[in-house]
């Protein structure tokens, strides 16, 4: 699996995931799906890191992915906590209604 063509395929898949996450982040109105799009982008980055670690033969990329996954779990917990508080105030998960957050 370390030949040249699969390297390109991995990068294509990872970058497509990042692009998908970006599109979802921008076009969706539901705040939960916006958080899911962020997860998609993080997974694209993880895939790139794993591929780089596999290609270079060092363990650094793998360890970085372990840390990223841990931080992503915490980020989702805090993000969903904030979202639930917003939902209790606004009674909706529509990001259009959260506009007063911009100050």
């Amino acid at each position: 699996m370390s030949n040249f063509s699969s390297v390109y395929w991995t990068q294509f898949i990872a970058i497509a995931l990042i692009g998908l996450g970006m599109v979802g982040f921008l076009i969706r109105r539901n705040a939960i799906v916006v958080l899911m799009s962020i997860e998609l982008m993080l997974n694209g980055v993880n895939l790139l890191l794993i591929e780089a670690a596999h290609r270079s033969g060092s363990a650094d990329g793998t360890m970085l992915v372990v840390f990223i996954i841990t931080i992503a779990a915490g980020e989702v917990a805090v993000g969903l906590g904030i979202l639930l508080n917003l939902y209790r105030i606004k009674h909706s998960s529509d990001t259009e209604l959260y506009k007063e957050l911009q100050g």
Partner: protein
């Protein structure tokens, strides 16, 4: 042969990823996210990182997506419209296209040939690295997790005092 499997799993992952952002119901999005994460775990196995694949399934589909589904159940999932207006769609499509093209160009230009010393990182090696080379990031991460637990508790407690409008 492996390339074919790799491409098939990759296309499966991308299809599930696009259904995450296209499904109107957040519940369907969450389940597509689970399938997408399983596809990614398969890619990690093919990239000789079985440890990360296990972590991916355990943490992402076992914890994060369950959290998402739980929050969807607490909320009224259909209380908002699905998409923003078409200006956002066009701008985001252009932006994603430009960024993807830039990343693809930057990454494929800098691709180094495989070193060849790649091997599957065993659990023992991961544990050894975690307590030697990556000791400080590991400890800082534990403090970070404690901070996050306190933050979530503060958020949950505060919400009881929040006045309902």
């Amino acid at each position: 042969m492996t390339d074919g499997i790799f491409i098939a799993i990759g296309i499966f992952t991308l299809l599930c990823g696009s259904s995450v952002i296209l499904c109107k119901s957040p519940v369907y999005s969450a389940f597509s996210l689970i399938l997408s994460f399983f596809g990614l775990a398969g890619l990690y196995i093919l990239l000789e990182s079985p440890f990360i694949a296990v972590i991916q399934v355990l943490v992402y589909t076992g914890a994060i997506v369950v959290l998402f589904v739980y929050v969807v159940m607490l909320m009224n999932p259909n209380s908002s419209g699905a998409y923003r207006n078409w200006i956002f769609m066009i701008v985001s499509a252009f932006l994603a296209w430009a960024v993807s093209l830039y990343l693809l160009k930057a990454l494929t230009l800098g691709v180094a040939p495989a070193v060849g010393g790649a091997h599957a990182l065993s659990l023992k090696e991961v544990a050894t690295l975690l307590f030697t080379k990556y000791l400080w990031p590991f400890e800082i991460l534990s403090i970070f997790l404690v901070v996050m637990i306190v933050a979530v508790f503060a958020l949950a407690k505060q919400s009881k005092e929040t006045p309902n409008e």
